[in-house]
Symmetry: C2
Subunit: 886 residues, 2 copies
């Protein structure tokens, strides 16, 4: 049997079907599938993609068999549509389009209205009595053919059109103009190409088919395939289809409908149309389309058929459809159908509804929702109908939307908060001192720093909307204003931030708050049924702990104890402790903090009763606990409060200055050089834990050591923790110690010696922020100066502080995990860096076998969802791998 | 046959030999070996170590066989020496000593003069007519026996002695005192132990033997074995030997000789002796010994015999010997021989001489010299005879010694250098700006920074003596003085530095300069014959390149191009380039540097003709090229020179400030954001290379990209380098490009993706300084604040910036090496960090299979030696592993 090169579709039948994309391309297969379903698609045929390769290999010619099959199918098409190609009475016009195995939008060429010449133009004018329509179609054909097939530059043809339009400023072209244009364009095409514009329809058709095949290898298509890693050997199929026209009078029209509401997800036909128009008239926006419900009144049979077709398509493709249609002389034609784009809210509702309607299975519904959508529905958004003026764009650091008055001083925000509305804190960057200001603000905008800068991390932790690295803004703190270009925004002016896009708007835009829908709640219930890794939260205080628990966290994976020191009634005690020269003096100062820490921990333990609470001992370098060295007034006041000389304070602070604080005296190095601090912290943890235990509560304290790089350091601190716990146990007459000890793996060396570390601890928690910094040698605070270039030039495809670098950093995580678990199979291994809230990274963590992720409370739902989805995907893939019977 | 428990030696014969240490212990085997050789050792016998175990297992008793064999051997001993144990005419005295398989110096007990009682004392007085000698011996015996055997506390016996001495202040004890003492001591021993001091010599002997066996299990011996990982089951042998006395008149004496000069290595008998004295008299220093040559005059036959014995011992043990001897009544006895300690100079000379004398083979000679010795002989040392006052101690950063006047301003050093002697630059720390000052100084002293701080690295690179991190010194730059405790050292005061110990001395000490001896030169010739890894040098200018070549470097492994920018006539052009806002402006400024760089490279290429020159493109962060931000005067002057406003300069400089410059915008990141800089540098390299090639020179330019962390970055820069080279080739009409491209592997990620990087380059060079910083998370500039605690508490056993951390950083080097070579077997892989000059690390690099190391020129000889030794050791070990025939 001869090879089948050409596949027909139309008249309720088709040679191909939906899964023939390898042969027919996406578009051809989709049309065949619709035809098979009895959906009224304009009939046509598809030349398979193999012919594309044959064409190139045969010196741009076709085997006789291909020519014959095209001719046969053309005859069939003429029969189904009831018109003939090149006929002088009732001429058929054709479109010639590309269609590859995967969509390559706009990369290849299309030729419409093939088959027009003087004779068929005349015939169509007679048949339609619509001279304007016919000549306009002719003009378009000549232009497109001249450019695509004859290879004449766009600019040459555009120039002719531009001149014609100049002659009738502000008016439509007259029919005469159109007539003149088509001959001028033909003449220009002939001149530029040195060939004659063909009048023979068959010659036009073959030349158009060849041109579309050749467009597979045009430079932009090749580049697109290289970027998208698409094989150059696949080739494109070519679909030849009858043209239908919506601009043939008031019983014609064109439109787009969605089978469900793409904004809300409601099950209703929604969309718009224009009578006597072509698709591009809707796009151009020159006429205002009518809502689809109007079609019911104007062309009731067409409307009924459209409703019916859209239901069938949705049922068939098992998803909400975005459908393009044209009505030609009262007859409905479906041009295209595809899954419709939708908002996050709609996406969740549609998936859950389709499931309820038994159109899709649970797994399918679950996998259709993206973690990004889950995240979006939790944050307020700017009302899409608002008029917007974007004045600047920075990095979207923490999603959500916020409007408020500009304030530059964090303390002022704290004072003002709650009075007279909301405030946006605007700074060059923020520091640990500004935490209360960030908390009191509705949103934060900084001009420096990346997506993991201090402001970004803190804001995300609080669920506060935040934009960072907005470098086009110049902040002048003295004048209390900021400048963008030649525009000045003063303190008190209203601005709006969109933390999901990084856009800054002038004025107050109304925002829609995030109320979890019923479908969302239902989804989250399921999430726990599917259940992949554990999801814990990063929380430093009882409020966050409660929030985390409400969001479904299964414990606290990271409680940063130093945040507790920044409160006004504590910071000076801590400063006193680290300024002390003598151990005894230091102990006394720390003693004053003990009570605070103990009650902090007690409240957190209470909130998390029955769940583990992982407490990281002091981590940041000491200089962070002091005002900046140049803030002399503050320093003098501090010296006075602490009862030491200003000179002494400055001297002492000098010793905290470091060239590279990120790689300096921090983390457990502080616990080693200042053991009294860690002793106090461990004591506070255990006193709180034992107090509650004695009252009958179930408490799981997990003590975590940061920035471990040597085995010896771990040994020393393990002993310190054990000794302190034992001591507290004795004092409180508790015999059963119930704490776990863990280390953060946040330095490459810790991952490399994970086997040695594992033997001494109960758990690991990867700190992928620091691990990313050290593995790449990227300081996250300085990264902003070259990161944009790295993105532009394609050296990084993503910010590695948001998306875990799986090749490098991920490799170290794998090494650490594997070495750790090999040495101690019972070891619990998780991650508490920023990546713990990033869905893509969460999937990676699931794949390599981590036990849990920990992220900020607001990210817990999305992390739970991503973790569950990862588990489900893994299950689906592994069952797909299982050899089946059929 | 019955087990042989006791081994005799003496009279030119011995039952045991040198390799019987397992049986006889080190001491017993050594004595046996000497006896066998006919060396006059006092005769004796050794009870094997097995008896020690038997003794403990048999409830502190001996099998009959042991008792019998001891008695037999004692009889033999009496016969050889011609005196009888316990005899009342001619009594024999014995020593009883321990001797384990490995030396445990001072851990176990000894009893001397066994066999003394009233009768034998009287006999000896008769025989020697030396009452003082005899009663003194008796007093010593009673004291030792009382303490060791009867278990009486030292303090009890010491007190009696102290009182006796008090009675004769400043005088020797009288014979009466000695007589009285021995009876008082006996009485005290009896009282304290509740036993009677034995008078029966055989009882004394057996009790002494048991006491020595028991001392195997005294607490300090057990602890010593635990620390040294020595088996508790080995037990100790016991050697019973005839006592000989050097204090029996003027035909007696005692002394120590070396078979060669331990200071120079010259082949001459050297040492000293005292007539009529015991060994401890030499140690006590109460009498001044005479040079051994005097013995020739005083006791010529003894001297001749000593010369002969020392030659024989040296020939026998194949090393320079340190020999203890005693002459008793004109008869020479050898008490002990062992390999003698020696200076680095002597060590090399002796090894080479022994080889020439065919006493040892080449491999043996080679392995006997330590890399440390090779290093020491190249640096000047402080004359050991100088009186020294150490005023402070810092970290020994660059070896050698230097005296000079204190200067605080680097520019002043430059000015003064060469006039009125030498200068020592004293700073808190140094920066890139100070390079000329360091170069002009005789030595450098800093109060901050570790062994790999800027000052340390630069000074080592220049072979300049340097001490860093000398924190007990307070530098006051304004007053131009520094303070140590309450002592003030002013500008212009003389101090001396010992860069090998870190000691700072007041005043000028004379130093001995390092002239390589002929033996050293010979050794280095051999080094290349043995040849392990390649050794290249880090050199940034033609002078260093020449030096490196003279020291035997096989090329340049690291040429830091930025050092060339710091010269006065260039720095402003470079500043102009990096301050430029527009690419074109930047190009113009760089154009001015092109000529300088080209001629730098040309001169370096010339020096290294025929050898590879690895040039690292710009690496440090841009702020390093500017004065410190607070140096306002300098900044104003700079702004004026560059023709920009002061405000503009400050603004621009602000953008160079980074929180963690070590992890910031540096290395190839600069090449990516400022491609014009790298283009200029590559152009300069290739123009210089092609110019020389066209003149017939052989040039091997190797272009190295620093701080690579992404594959995309490497691709981009590879293209930049290739395009520039091609362009230069066209311009200069050179068709054959001959450069190699490499990357520095100095970030964990680069090591992890080494397989991907390898495919694009010709070579890797590990930058283990940065790799250590990122793997540990240690900033080398800040490390000093906690490193001392880490050392103290045993968390680090060495500075990881000097000794490569083989567990962590070394693991990454292995990963990078393995992945790189697997992807591209022809890949050349080396290392150019500081560790490239550290002998221990070099051995590691050899073991894992690196192709070369690169280090500062002054370290090239030691690196060559260490590399060759590593190769030889590997060979020796692998041939030892080969199963032999015997």
């Amino acid at each position: 049997m001869a090879t089948k090169y050409v596949y027909f579709f139309g008249g309720g039948k088709a040679d191909g079907k939906a899964n023939s994309t390898d042969l027919l391309g996406g578009k051809g297969a989709n049309l065949a599938e619709m035809a098979r379903m009895g959906v009224p698609v304009p009939p046509g045929f598809t030349i398979i993609a193999d012919v594309c390769n044959i064409y190139f290999q045969s010196n741009s010619s076709y085997p006789r068999e291909v020519t014959l099959q095209v001719e046969e199918n053309l005859a069939k098409l003429e029969q189904v549509i009831g018109a003939r190609f090149g006929d002088e009475e009732n001429p058929l016009l054709l479109s010639v389009r590309s269609g590859a195995r995967v969509s390559m939008p706009g990369m290849m060429d299309t030729v419409l209205n093939v088959g027009l010449n003087e004779a068929s133009v005349a015939a169509l004018v007679r048949k339609t009595t619509n001279e304007r329509f016919v000549y306009d179609a002719y003009r378009r054909f000549v232009e497109m053919y001249g450019n695509v097939v004859m290879g004449v530059e766009d600019t040459v043809l555009d120039e002719i059109l531009r001149k014609a339009r100049e002659r009738r400023p502000g008016m439509e072209l007259a029919i005469e103009d159109l007539k003149e244009l088509s001959s001028k364009l033909r003449a220009a095409a002939n001149a530029a190409s040195g060939r004659d514009f063909p009048t023979d329809p068959m010659e036009q058709l073959w030349a158009a088919i060849s041109a579309v095949f050749e467009s597979w290898n045009n430079p932009r298509a090749i580049a697109y395939r290289e970027i998208g890693k698409i094989s150059h050997h696949w080739g494109t199929a070519v679909t030849v289809q009858a043209m239908v026209f919506g601009n043939m009078g008031d019983d014609s029209g064109t439109g787009v409908v969605f089978s469900r509401n793409p904004a809300t997800g409601e099950r209703e036909l929604i969309g718009e149309f224009l009578l006597n128009a072509q698709g591009e008239d809707i796009v151009a926006g020159t006429r205002t389309p009518q809502p689809i419900s109007e079609l019911k009144r104007l062309l009731p049979p067409c409307y009924e058929e459209l409703v019916d077709v859209s239901r069938r398509l949705e049922r068939h493709f098992k998803d909400m459809q975005d459908i393009e249609f044209t009505i030609q002389n009262g007859r409905l034609w479906i041009l295209q159908t595809r899954a419709g784009k939708r908002t996050a809210h709609a996406s969740i509702k549609i998936a859950m509804d389709l499931l309820r309607e038994r159109l899709i299975a649970g797994t399918e519904a679950f996998l259709r929702i993206t973690p990004n959508e889950v995240e979006q529905v939790l944050h307020p958004i700017i009302d899409p109908s608002e008029r917007r003026e974007v004045i600047a764009k920075g990095l979207p650091a923490s999603p959500g939307a916020a409007s408020g008055r500009v304030i530059f001083d964090p303390d002022e925000v704290v004072e003002l908060a709650g009075k007279n509305g909301d405030y946006i804190l605007v700074r060059e960057q923020t520091s640990a001192d500004d935490i209360r200001g960030i908390s009191a603000a509705a949103g934060v905008l900084t001009t420096r720093g990346g997506i993991t800068s201090h402001a970004a991390v803190v804001a995300r932790g609080m669920g506060r909307c935040c934009i960072v690295g907005c470098s086009s803004i110049d902040v002048d703190l003295e004048k209390e204003e900021f400048v963008i270009g030649n525009r000045i925004i003063n303190k008190g002016d209203l601005i709006t931030l969109d933390g999901s896009t990084g856009e800054v708007f002038l004025g107050k835009l109304s925002t829609a708050s995030a109320k979890p829908s019923n479908e969302f709640k239902e989804l989250m219930v399921w999430t726990d049924l599917v259940k992949g890794m554990g999801v814990m939260a990063n929380a430093d205080n009882p409020q966050d702990a409660k929030l985390a628990r409400d969001f479904g966290a299964e414990g606290i994976g990271l409680c940063r104890t130093e945040h507790m020191f920044f409160q006004l009634d504590r910071i000076d005690h801590f400063r006193e402790a680290i300024l002390a020269d003598e151990t005894e003096e230091r102990r006394q100062a720390l003693q004053k903090l003990l009570g605070f820490q103990r009650s902090d921990f007690r409240e957190i333990f209470k909130e998390m009763e029955g769940l583990p609470v992982t407490i990281r001992l002091l981590d940041p370098p000491l200089h962070e606990f002091f005002p900046l060295p140049h803030a002399e007034d503050e320093l003098r006041a501090l010296a006075k409060r602490l009862g030491i000389s200003f000179r002494r304070l400055k001297e002492k602070m000098q010793t905290f200055n470091e060239f590279n604080p990120m790689l300096g005296h921090r983390g457990c190095r502080l616990g080693i050089t200042h053991p009294e601090i860690y002793e106090m912290q461990v004591r506070a943890i255990m006193e709180a834990a034992y107090e509650l235990m004695k009252k009958g509560s179930t408490v799981y304290p997990e003590i975590m050591l940061p920035f471990v790089s040597t085995l010896g350091g771990l040994k020393l601190l393990k002993k310190l923790v054990a000794d302190t716990c034992e001591q507290v146990g004795k004092e409180m007459e508790v015999t059963e110690s119930n704490y776990h000890l863990g280390v953060m793996i946040e330095l490459p060396r810790a991952a490399l010696i994970a086997n040695e570390l594992a033997e001494l601890v109960d758990f690991f928690s990867f700190g992928t922020n620091d691990l990313t910094q050290t593995t790449y040698g990227f300081s996250r605070d300085d990264f902003g100066t070259f990161f944009p270039t790295y993105l532009d030039k394609g050296m990084l495809s993503n910010d590695p502080f948001i998306y875990l670098d799986q090749t490098g950093v991920g490799e170290l995580v794998k090494i650490g995990l594997e070495r750790g678990k090999r040495a101690k199979p019972s070891l619990k291994v998780g991650i508490c860096g920023e990546h713990g809230g990033n869905p893509e990274s969460i999937k990676f963590f699931h794949q390599i076998g981590l036990d849990y992720v920990s992220c900020s409370p607001y990210r817990v739902p999305v992390a739970r969802f991503a973790a569950s989805q990862a588990a489900l995907e893994a299950k689906t893939n592994s069952s797909a791998d299982t050899p089946g019977v059929g």
